[in-house]
């Protein structure tokens, strides 16, 4: 689902920050996940080597992507899987719709797939009269609330259990005021069980597609992908072209990193391998580009495609923690989303690379060592050069560059500035100055260091 909004990150983040106790709760919840990740990582002395290995494997994949994709396709076909290729979101959605339409299927169960969020598949299928039910608990909650996920691993992390109780009361008939997570989960289980048993089609994402064997691996904690796929007559798996790994043995690297980075668990509850359809059923794979080959061609941003969607960069990002996933107005929020989204629509997402202090924590937790914060810096340069930054900002920056390039102008400006601070504080301490809203301005000293130094030198020389 897309957010029907044109507001940018600063505005959406400011709205989120109107409720400070909620921001505190959101921040603490995600920091708790980050802390769990730290504990899990520190239990493995070889952690940094694992990250480096994963990064190198993915580098190899990106350098030989077409070869691995063709190898994967050939092996998957040998296994009896039907392979489709989609150049973009529209083609992906159409392929899925055709598969359902040809079989007269109007109801589908879907496990978590950020790719289908990126392609806005649910809305598209709804328009075509197809009812899609998300089977991941968190995704089902946001779906019932008619909201997009706010986090790629924890889709309803922005919702408190009481709010989930209200949603379940309204849609699933749980008791009014019920907020016990165990009881609410049981309510969802009963509801989803009926869905699993009655759906003829199941769509899943793909975590890893193994070129060597033509199999693919789906990781879930709830087993919902398996429940859907095993009970349906047609299993459609949607994957981005970057999900390839060369060999099965490489799973030993990625599966160890994925969930430790995501939630601090040693491994996902279910890491299910799908290699061939059961008798009487079909497996279809839709391999989707949707801008990825363009990103692959952008040398500075290429390795963003190494991402395995663990969400660790979101949990550690102080801006994400204190602004909420929806403030990023894109399917993949947080630092990684901010380097992926401008590739898809530079104008629409021009704000996102600036929604960061460039603190660098994201790059340090990334299990495949994507230089996320450096790419945020580089996207800023690209966005400005392509003309997507406000004209007023450009003018201010030009004036600043001019002043700072001239010692005379700088000294004059500094002195004037300090005099203003001292004798006309109302000129800076007002509502037009965003700094002053929640912070005092620095006190202006009588003299700059440069002025002090000149006097000292004069005194020393005399």
């Amino acid at each position: 689902m897309s957010t029907a909004t044109t507001k940018d990150h600063p505005h959406l983040a400011a709205e989120f920050n109107r409720d400070e106790p909620r921001v505190n709760w959101h921040d603490e919840t995600l920091w708790w996940v980050r802390a769990k990740r730290d504990i899990a990582a520190h239990k493995l002395p070889e952690w940094e080597l694992l990250r480096e290995t994963a990064s190198q494997i993915k580098l190899n994949v990106l350098s030989n992507l077409s070869t691995y994709l063709e190898q994967f396709e050939a092996n998957a076909i040998k296994n009896g899987i039907i392979v489709h290729w989609a150049a973009d979101a529209a083609e992906h959605n159409q392929i899925v719709h055709n598969l359902l339409e040809q079989r007269g299927i109007t109801k589908m169960v879907k496990s978590k797939s950020m790719l289908t969020e990126e392609c806005h598949l649910n809305e598209y299928l709804k328009e075509q009269g197809i009812d899609v039910i998300d089977s991941d608990l968190g995704e089902r909650i946001v779906q019932l609330a008619n909201e997009p996920p706010s986090h790629i691993v924890l889709p309803c992390i922005h919702k408190k259990k009481e709010e989930i109780g209200d949603i379940f009361h309204e849609h699933l008939g749980s008791a009014k005021g019920e907020s016990d997570p165990k009881i609410l989960t049981e309510t969802a289980r009963q509801h989803l069980r009926e869905v699993f048993l009655t759906r003829r089609a199941a769509l899943t994402g793909v975590n890893f597609a193994v070129a060597e064997t033509g199999e693919f691996v789906i990781c879930t904690n709830e087993g919902n992908a398996d429940m859907g796929a095993h009970l349906a007559e047609i299993h459609i798996a949607s994957m981005g072209i970057e999900k390839i790994i060369p060999e099965r043995k490489h799973l030993g690297v990625f599966l160890r990193l994925l969930t430790r980075s995501a939630t601090g668990q040693p491994i996902t509850t279910y890491s299910s391998h799908f290699s061939k359809p059961q008798d009487g059923t079909e497996i279809h794979i839709v391999i989707v580009d949707n801008g990825r080959s363009i990103q692959l061609g952008r040398e500075e941003f290429r390795n963003s495609l190494k991402c395995i969607r663990c969400g660790a960069c979101m949990n550690t990002c102080p801006v994400y923690r204190k602004s909420g996933g929806h403030s990023y107005h894109t399917a993949v929020a947080g630092p990684i989303g901010s380097i992926l989204a401008p590739n898809l629509d530079m104008k629409k997402y021009a704000d996102l690379p600036f929604a960061s202090t460039l603190c660098g924590s994201c790059s340090n937790v990334c299990p495949v060592k994507i230089d996320i914060h450096d790419q945020l810096y580089k996207w800023r340069q690209v966005i400005v050069k392509e003309g997507y930054s406000p004209k007023t900002k450009t003018m201010a920056m030009k004036a600043m560059a001019l002043t700072l390039a001239s010692p005379t102008l700088y000294r004059m400006g500094g002195k004037t500035g300090r005099l203003v601070f001292k004798y006309a504080p109302f000129a800076v301490n007002n509502k037009l100055n965003p700094w002053y809203n929640q912070r005092e301005m620095p006190k202006a000293p009588d003299e700059s260091f440069g002025e002090w130094y000149a006097k000292r030198k004069g005194a020393k020389n005399s």
């Binding site: 202090t357 924590s361 260091f449």
Partner: protein
Amino acid sequence: MFVPCYVDQFYPKAAIATLELLEKLGCEVHYPKNQTCCGQPMANSGYEHLTGGCNNLFVDNFSGYDYIVCPSGSCTLHIKEHLHADGKEEQATEIRKKVYELTEFLVDVLRVKQLTATFPYRVGLHQSCHGLRGLRIAQMSELVAEPFSKPEQLLDMVNGLELVPLSRQDDCCGFGGTFCVVEEAVSAKMGKDRVADHVSHGAQYITSADLSCLMHLEGILRRQNSDVKVIHVAEILNHSM
């Protein structure tokens, strides 16, 4: 000595302390008087292409020294990563290699083992992100690696100083250059939360190798009418009773 523009204009005491400290430790310190700014405010806003003037000026001011020392991790990192100048690339490269943030200079180059400073207060150490994750003046909490901290090593040499523990040892303060005004809500919230961590652990002072973070935290402390003060690490290391 490279004194960042905002330190020059708003926090001359930190620069004075840096100068006095370096002189005490036997360095011959020059302050090139035509220096202005490293260009980071433009570059981080996406206008690196407008920093040519600053870069040229920087190269003219700082060529030929044995070391360039700066009491700011952030500005040091910018020079280290982004200083280039048309026709003067050789000098620029030389400068990028010779520029040091103050605490790393004291630990790695001067190999300071003891100080005569006294500062009998409870102090919270704020790690600036650029000093930490850019210059690696301390170990980063995200990595599975041996801990170390150059600023802490120096603060441990100060008589009477008690470092307070923090709940989040290296979370960002939210300053972020123009981020602090463009993303005012999130920036201020990040600053408030950092301040709360120090205050709740009993800090009387918050120190850092970066004044930009401290300027931000000071703005919040003063708005809260807090007794807690900010102080640049150089001022502590140079402090005598």
